[in-house]
Point group: C2
Chain length 233, copies 2
C-alpha cells in the first residue's frame, strides 16, 4: 500500500494546555507542520489544563484540536489522579514525586501514534523536559528514543518503510530557555495553565511544584510572569 | 525506593473476551500469577466481546477484572471502530486488512503498563498471534520486543532495575495449537466471543474473518466448535 504524504506535512502535537506543550506547538508550527493537537484526559485533577489547551490550540494556529479519554485515573498511584493523595508543595529529595503518573507519557504517545497513523502523519511532538522533571522515568531522552524505535515497528508506516519521528524539542532545555524560545515565537503564556490545582477559571495556586518551577523560570528568563496566581509563589 | 514484589507475583492480562486472550489468561494462571485482567474499550463495534471478557475472567479465576476506556474510535481508520467501513468476509491478499486498528496493541499494552506499575506487577500478558494476523504490524515478535525495551525505560520499575516482561505466549502458535493448549487447561471456549460483529447475546455471525479463523482452528484441532453461530461458517 502506498502512503501519500500530505502537503504541508501533518504532525500530532500532545497539548496539555501548560507552558511546555504550548511552546512545542509553536515550534512545530514554525517548522511548517499542519498541527493536529491532541489533549488526553487521563483522569487528572487539573481539568483547567484541558480548557487551557483549547485556548492555546486556537491562539497558536493548530489545524484542529481533539480530546481523547484514556482512563488511567482508576489505576491510582498518583497525586494527579487520586484525590486521596495530597499534592506536595516541595520537592522531596531524589524520590520520584507523587505527582508522577504511571506510564502517562507512554499512554499519551500511544494515543498520538494512533491518530498519526489514521492521519498519515509521521511526526509527533511532546513537550517533555528532562531538566525540571529529572525524576520522571518517561521524561528521559532514552525513553523517547525507545518509544520511537517501538513506534516504527508498531504501525503500517513502519512496514512501508517511512519512519515516524518523536520530537521532544524541549527535552534538554531549562524552563527559562523554554520561556525565552516561546516568547520569541510570540506565545502569550497568560493563556496557559501549568498548576496542578488550578481553579475552574485557570487561576494557579502559586505554591505547588509546577507553579514554583514556572515562576522561577520567568524570573530566570527576566520576563514578567503573566500567570494569575491565587497567592504569589 | 524499594519495590517489594507481591507474593504470588501479579500479572496484568489483556483480556478481550476472545479465544486467544482467554487462553493467555489460563496460561498465566498456570504459571502461578495472580491475574489482573484488563479489557480496553477502544471504540470497537463488538461490545459483545467485553461482556464475554467478564465471563471469561470469572470462569478462569482472574483476581479482578477492570474495564478502561481509551478513545481510539474517534480517530477512525478501521472497520472495527468506524461503522462506515464494512467488515470484509474474506482476506484480501497481502494487504493489511481494514479490521486493523491503528496502534491498538500499543495503546492496550500502554494501559496495561500503567496498571502494572500501580499494582507492582512486572509481567504483562497479551494474546497476539503472528500466524493468523501476519498482516498486522503490532502482532509481530519484533514489535513485542521493542515494546518491552521501551516499557523497561518508561517506568519507575525500570529505574529501580527490576525488568518488566511482556509475555506473548501465543505469538508463534496456529489457531489449532492455541485451542489444543486451552482445551488441555480446561477452558470452555463456548463463553468466549471472537466475532467482529457478534450480537448482544454473543452469537457469532459465522462469516467474518475472525469467525472463519476460529472455526478452521477447531476443525484443524479436531475439537468440536462450541461457538454459537447465526449461520454456520
Amino acid at each position: 500500500m502506498k502512503h501519500d504524504i500530505p502537503s504541508p506535512p501533518r504532525a500530532v502535537i500532545l497539548l496539555s494546555g501548560g507552558l511546555d506543550s504550548a511552546t512545542c506547538l509553536a515550534l512545530a508550527r514554525q517548522q511548517g507542520f499542519e498541527c493536529h493537537a491532541l489533549s488526553v484526559a487521563y483522569g487528572q485533577r487539573h481539568a483547567a489544563e484541558i480548557a487551557a489547551a483549547s485556548r492555546v490550540a486556537a491562539a497558536l494556529g493548530a489545524h484542529e484540536h481533539r480530546l481523547a479519554r484514556a482512563d488511567l485515573g482508576q489505576f491510582g498511584g498518583s497525586a494527579l489522579t487520586d484525590p486521596g493523595i495530597a499534592i506536595p508543595e516541595d520537592r522531596e529529595g531524589d524520590e520520584i514525586p507523587v505527582t508522577y503518573v504511571p506510564a502517562r507519557n507512554t499512554v499519551m504517545l500511544s494515543m498520538a501514534l494512533a491518530w498519526a497513523e489514521a492521519l498519515g502523519a509521521y511526526d509527533i511532538f511532546i513537550g517533555v523536559n528532562a531538566v525540571d522533571y529529572s525524576g520522571y522515568p518517561d521524561c528521559r531522552p532514552e525513553f523517547i528514543a525507545a518509544f520511537q524505535a517501538m513506534a516504527r515497528l508498531a504501525t503500517k508506516a513502519g512496514i512501508n518503510g517511512r519512519p515516524l519521528t518523536i520530537h521532544a524539542p524541549l527535552i534538554g532545555l531549562s524552563k527559562a530557555e523554554i520561556i525565552l524560545q516561546g516568547t520569541a515565537l510570540g506565545i502569550d503564556y497568560g493563556i496557559t495553565v501549568s498548576c496542578y490545582q488550578a481553579d475552574a477559571e485557570g487561576q494557579a495556586c502559586g505554591h505547588c511544584d509546577a507553579c514554583r518551577l514556572r515562576h522561577d523560570g520567568f524570573m530566570a528568563a527576566n520576563i514578567d510572569d503573566p500567570t494569575r496566581y491565587r497567592t504569589l509563589p
